[in-house]
Symmetry: C2
Subunit: 136 residues, 2 copies
Amino acid sequence: MARATTTSDSFNAVAEPRRREILSYLAGAERPVGEIVAALGLPQPSISKHLRVLHDVGLVRMRCQGRQKLYRTNAEAIRPLHEWAATFERYWQHQLLRVKELAEATVRHGAADWNSADSTTPDSKTPGSKPPDSNT
Amino acid sequence: MARATTTSDSFNAVAEPRRREILSYLAGAERPVGEIVAALGLPQPSISKHLRVLHDVGLVRMRCQGRQKLYRTNAEAIRPLHEWAATFERYWQHQLLRVKELAEATVRHGAADWNSADSTTPDSKTPGSKPPDSNT
DNA sequence: TTGACATATTCCGATATCGGAATGTAATGT
DNA sequence: ACATTACATTCCGATATCGGAATATGTCAA
């Protein structure tokens, strides 16, 4: 097995940098494939393939107009991603405080190695403990 | 070639559902690996491997305490993701309006196939046509 | 019809990724 | 020193993924 087959999960679809570029490019207005190719400077088949993935997961919408197909980012499909990330918002605010405090304390006395190779911290406090299990 | 080697990009690291679970689980407090294993019900080596990826991209922090290692989500590393998604916020607000209008219009007269298998829209109205070139 | 566009699909090889099983390593207890 | 606990790493096979080249499909124009 490997990943969740890209074509089923928007987190996966967005994991590819080029696809992110495409989404940004198509956010404001619909565009024919040719313009996307010109704008991003990638080979046309490549663009088509990425568009397919994005379309399959609903991240872009498509409309036919004569012999061209107009694509456009479906911004709504990005919301779940945004909301998932927002779940951590309260924590990074917390951390900003903690980091600030830690820095100050560190200046006053010795080092406080967070994330160095090994710390071993023998008996330390175990701060607040027992936080939420906020799972999806 | 394939993807950007997962271990270099947090978008990629987060593309894996289990890793997302781990991040949620470790958001509020640090935990030893054993607890993560117990909580998520995955084999220990698997957890360790995911933790490695997350650690390499900076999505979790680690601290040693005796024979156990305490992991914790580094929420700050999720901010870039959140901000990227936020880039589209203004568009999904737009779209909500457009969709609503379209729905009302559609109810009044015929269908307006958006995104069906093929539309071909031979010569028909093409509503506004020639949309803006508002580039990035 | 034929031909020129516009885009999609298929085939291919190189490389990643994931899970599982087995094994390695460091800290602790006796 | 030895066994045990707590994790990490390695090896492996199955499958995905990506880019490139070639080719197919569909649409308009003469």
